[in-house]
Amino acid sequence: MALAEVAAPPAAARRDGMGRQGIGARGIGPGAAGYWFAAPAVLLMVVILILPVGIAALLSFTDYSLGNDGADWVGTANYERMVGSSTYTRMLWATATYVLVVVPVSIALGLGAALLINSLRRFGDVYKTIYFLPVMAALLAMAIVWEFSLHPTLGIVNDTLASFCGTGIEKVFGFFADGCARNFPLWFGDKDYAIWAVCFIGIWQAFGFNMVLYLAGLTGVHRDLYHAAEMDGAARAWDRFRLVTWPMLGPTTVFVVTITTIRSFQVFDTVESITQGGPAKTTFVMMYAIYEKAIKQNLIGMGAAITVVFLLFVLLLTLVQRHVVEKRVHYA
């Protein structure tokens, strides 16, 4: 989406310029003026967008390290390593898990919260503030709070879980039986739980933002449509949701999905401050991988290769989203 939007204005400007003959009549030929008008935008776009991406793409075929005089062309070796090595397979798994969990859950929760708040007559603002707080807070600071809360021995979460031991609940849920008999999960230290704990923080942080976007979207739904639906016989809330709310929120949903997906691909703070990609690379998400390879280990070529793959994912997403928008979403 971002790429497509930046590319649009210069193209439009050029088309306008071509139409106006005579502006560039001082011997430069007709239409030249249009190119001059478009030039600053095109230049900026090339310098700050296309050029860096191009350089990154070039670097991904080398073994360049920062400080070296030169670099050797290694062809597709960096990419082959990414396909072959289990570290990078895990990176893709961790990233995919994070995106596929955080995006749908945070959107569903955001929409649910927005619908509930929208139906309130009072206290709506209180809930809005509470749910939006995580968005405003620095994720890094919040990650530390969650790290403490989920600490295996000191954390409030495991303390609370342990307080249920002996109430008979361990006979019903195997989870409690295990926890009470031995110990409750290590969360960030356990490779079966770490990525889910990271996802949880991601959802907790993202859904407030989605909620605000949906609340804004809901204010744009014409009240008459709900009345018309009611008159047409939509007595159930579900019918009105399917007939009016959900289609009318289409444009909002497209935006929310795009933003949340891109932000989920970019998750870094939580991983960096709590797990550093561990345990056993289960939380080794792409952004963290780029940081570890390119910055910490000074393997610029490898980092660039991951960056290119990352960009491809985002680009693919943009194309799919644009396709869906043109086909399915109704803009009133």
């Binding site: 018309a228 008159m231 019918d239 109704h330």
Partner: protein, 377 residues
């Protein structure tokens, strides 16, 4: 198909009373118009009938059944909104199918994918498509069925909104200023079509408008509403000829009825701006208001000195008629008089002529705005 009875309907938003006790009986198959200036509570009243808004007091009964606690979707009424309220993501066919789908298909039959597996659904769908096709033919929108509302003109959207209301064959139609978003020519055209449609369907129509012309042209009866009460209820011709309240007289009729201060003496003889009237009223001396419609004034361009001296300052050409705007006695009382084109061409602006009221056409209103009848001679 339905008799709607309103008994003592009140509605207040906080401190403000919007409806102050409305009693109204709407007969089966009647075309009743609620007309009044904006803010008089007519739309609120319609929404209360529909159930979209709850009344603060009073009862709504449809065919003798009090429906105060029945939700809108169960009252079997259809509504046409000013904004049309078509579902913008559905095409015309789907828009018109919606009320039938919601009524005739069960919850699971409407469920995406899964619903298609249920037996009997195909037959129901065929039936409702046939119903849509039939209504589309009546409204001449058959060629638009595949289009989305965004691709339609205002008049076409209006027809689709009507179609969506008609397919379900509701007991009554509620219309909330359905023509006010159309251009003038189309509005006049749709006025005739709606009246014809009403005759054809024979259903009860409750129509809300602020346009007195729509009320006069279409309705069987009209209720003139002001400030939350019905000032007068009756046939359009009756309300036009015989308004019971000064505000009704002023609101109904275009151009507006002429009003001027007048005096009644001890014997009940009325004198307005120096012109005495033959008929008398009961009661002693008091100030009154005299009202007379522009078409009930006779122009006298000759030497005569009967009637009021009138100086026209502006001629309004409506083709078949001219309206002369001017003032009386060179004073502050503004008047509008109707003239034929032949008369109007002979009258120069700024020159004083005489106008006099036709016999029996003047209306009198007291200081309380209520009508005062002349005594029979």
């Amino acid at each position: 198909m339905a008799r709607i009875a309103l008994g003592g309907i009140t509605k207040s938003f906080g401190e403000t009373a919007v409806l102050k006790g409305i009693d109204l009986d709407i007969a089966d198959g009647e075309f009743l118009t609620l007309v009044g200036p904006s803010g008089c509570g007519k739309s609120t009243l319609l929404r209360i009938i529909a159930g979209l808004e709850g009344q603060s007091g009073g009862d709504v009964a449809i065919d003798g059944q009090v429906v105060n606690r029945v939700r809108p979707s169960r009252r079997d009424l259809a509504m046409v909104f000013q904004s049309y309220a078509l579902y913008p993501h559905l095409n015309v066919q789907e828009n018109m199918e919606t009320p039938l789908r919601l009524r005739d298909l069960g919850f699971w039959e409407r469920f995406p994918l899964l619903g298609a597996l249920l037996p009997g659904r195909a037959a129901k769908l065929r039936a409702l498509r046939a119903a849509v096709a039939e209504v589309a033919e009546v409204l001449e929108i058959g060629h638009l069925l595949a289009r989305k509302p965004g691709q339609l003109s205002g008049g076409q959207r209006q027809r689709v909104a009507l179609g969506r209301a008609m397919v379900r064959k509701p007991v009554a139609f509620l219309m909330d200023e359905p023509l006010s978003n159309l251009d003038a020519a189309l509005r006049v055209h749709m006025r005739a079509e709606l009246a014809q449609l009403h005759r054809r369907l024979g259903a009860t129509f409750v129509y809300v408008t602020h346009d007195q012309a729509e009320a006069l042209t279409m309705s069987d009866r009209m209720a003139v509403m002001m400030e939350g009460t019905i000032l007068q209820l009756g046939a359009p011709s009756e309300i036009y000829r015989n308004p019971q309240h000064r505000k009704v007289a002023e609101f109904i009729g275009s151009p507006r009825i002429n009003l001027m201060p007048a005096e009644a003496d001890r014997d009940g003889r009325v004198v307005a701006q120096g012109v005495p009237f033959q008929r008398r009223i009961a009661g002693g001396a008091r100030p009154v208001s005299l009202a007379i419609r522009p078409e009930h004034l006779t122009l006298d361009c000759g030497r005569g000195n009967e009637g009021w001296p009138f100086t026209p300052t502006h001629k309004e050409n409506l083709g078949a008629d001219f309206f002369l705007h001017g003032h009386l006695n060179g004073g502050a009382t503004r008047m509008v008089a109707r003239a034929t084109p032949e008369q109007a061409t002979g009258i120069p602006l700024g020159r004083e002529i005489r106008i006099r009221p036709e016999a029996g056409a003047a209306l009198l209103f007291g200081a309380d705005d209520c009508r005062i009848r002349f005594l029979e001679a």
